[in-house]
Amino acid sequence: MRPTRLPLHALLLIALLAVQSLAAPTFAQAQLTQVPGQNSPTTKEQVPLYVPQDDKMIGRVSIPDEKLAVLVQPEGREWREWRTHTLRLAIGGLAIGMTTVLAIFFLYRGTIRIHAGRSGRLVLRFNGLDRFAHWTTAVSFLIMALTGVILTFGRPLLIPLIGHQAFTPLAEYAKSIHNFVSVPFVVGLLMILALWLRDNIPEKADWVWIRTAGGLFSKAGDSHPEAGRFNAGQKMVFWSIVLGGMGMAATGYLLMVPFAFTGIGGMQIMHVIHGLLAAGLIAAVIGHIYIGTIGMEGAFDAMGCGEVDENWAMEHHRRWYQEQLRKGYVEGRQPAE
């Protein structure tokens, strides 16, 4: 047997340990981000307590709820500003602004009359299915707008009136109704899309309508740009309701399943989009309701009983009227052949 000898790697290990034990204090401190140095505080007052924290701090958590790994999220500050001020300003400002503009327009123009008066002959404009789709969407939208406004403005406007004890159940019901009514809203929206998409494709004639603002400002009331089933203004309402409504539905459903698809930043952005679309759509719908009721004689019949006066159809939708005439859909008139 050979005499036992320390192998080379053992010698190296001993040497390394010796060096490390000498260097131990600095080795341990090197692992710290902050080591005593020239910048070390010399008095208690120099020790900072308030270090500005403007970046998101994300770490690791050992619990299943991974969204809690975000230690500090300063974006909450902007969202707070949005929720407490900007959102209220957007919804309230646009709604009040739109109402003011319409009131001024009403004083200027009054109810837009049927120029040639009512003929008494009726043309079917929207059948039962059309009207069902419209009113399903309309009623759902109004309910959701109202409940949404209660949740947004309830604290400054309703709590001082009815108190905290009464407002909490109101807000609770408003929230549930808002969530559940979204289902008929989406159903109505899809029906509207399927039924009226064909007649809402932008066309060349729409430019004329837009350039002349649809004859809205001609007080004589005899200027009507030619239009098919829907004029450019109605097409704009259609597309804002369909696209805006789908955007609202998408963001709304994602808000209903919090953190299922996105983190806290995504939830905040979703809420902002939902609120901005709501502000735009509420203003658009106020305009839509105005022109469909007190703004224009004979317009409500289209969605009310479904049949419009022949003269109304001739003035507002000449091309569509001629088509109906050709097909023999006008009461008391033979197909023009």
């Binding site: 981000t33 080591v35 924290q53 809690l68 909450g76 909490t168």
Partner: protein, 211 residues
């Protein structure tokens, strides 16, 4: 009157999770609710730090500002509490809170999340101190018994401290001076740095800023 604050000294925290366990046990917190949690920054890298985080009881609480039903209140000690009778579980406070403190018993139940739950600084809720109702809704009220939050009292390295903010600041500064470095008290500039009005508020008061 003391202004109650939390201070977690990241240089001392060893991520033992005793504070988390103490909190869960003391208040019988249900499964899935994390009133206090430990977050490890730079995990496995040089400069790794763990911080114990719960509601910081801010001076100007964002949760109170965004609440649609105005259910938050602040005690004379600066502790931010909320009323579970008024809360509708909308989740807005979680979007606004910088620290992720608000918790909800349900997550994806078609938008219904139950009543929000969060750290109470062991100070119960708006119900009478020490009542059964208060314990069932918010957990123990140690502050009314003259005791400080159990998480901080349990901390074996004295990393997490809870109590009078002025005293905590003094201890932390003394400590940092002795060891030669201080990193700034985590979360303090966010929680206590702005609008240090230090005045208590109740639901419906003007100072929550949301109305």
């Amino acid at each position: 009157m003391a202004r109650m604050k939390f201070l977690c000294d990241a240089e001392r925290c060893i991520e033992c999770n005793a504070c988390v366990t103490a909190c869960k046990n003391e208040h019988e917190v249900p499964w899935g609710i994390n009133r206090r949690r430990l977050v490890t920054l730079n995990d496995g890298k040089p400069g790794e730090r763990s911080i114990s985080m719960a509601c910081m009881h801010c001076n100007d609480p964002p949760c109170a500002a965004v609440c649609p039903v105005d259910c938050f209140l602040q005690t004379a000690d600066g502790v931010v509490l909320h009323s579970k009778d008024l809360c509708i579980g909308c989740g807005y406070c979680f979007y606004a809170c910088p620290f992720g403190a608000p918790q909800y018993p349900r997550t994806t139940d078609f938008g219904s999340r139950g009543k929000m739950d969060k750290c109470t600084f062991c100070a119960g809720g708006p119900e009478p101190d020490g009542s059964v109702e208060e314990y069932q809704k918010y957990g123990a009220n140690r502050l009314a018994e003259g005791k400080l939050p159990l998480c901080a009292e349990m901390c074996s390295t004295r990393a997490l401290m809870g109590g009078d903010g002025a005293v905590l600041a003094d201890i932390y500064q003394e400590r940092s001076l002795r060891r030669g470095y201080g990193s700034g008290a985590p979360g303090w500039s966010t929680a206590y740095g702005r609008n240090d009005r230090g005045s208590p508020f109740t639901p419906g008061g003007p100072s929550t800023g949301g109305a």
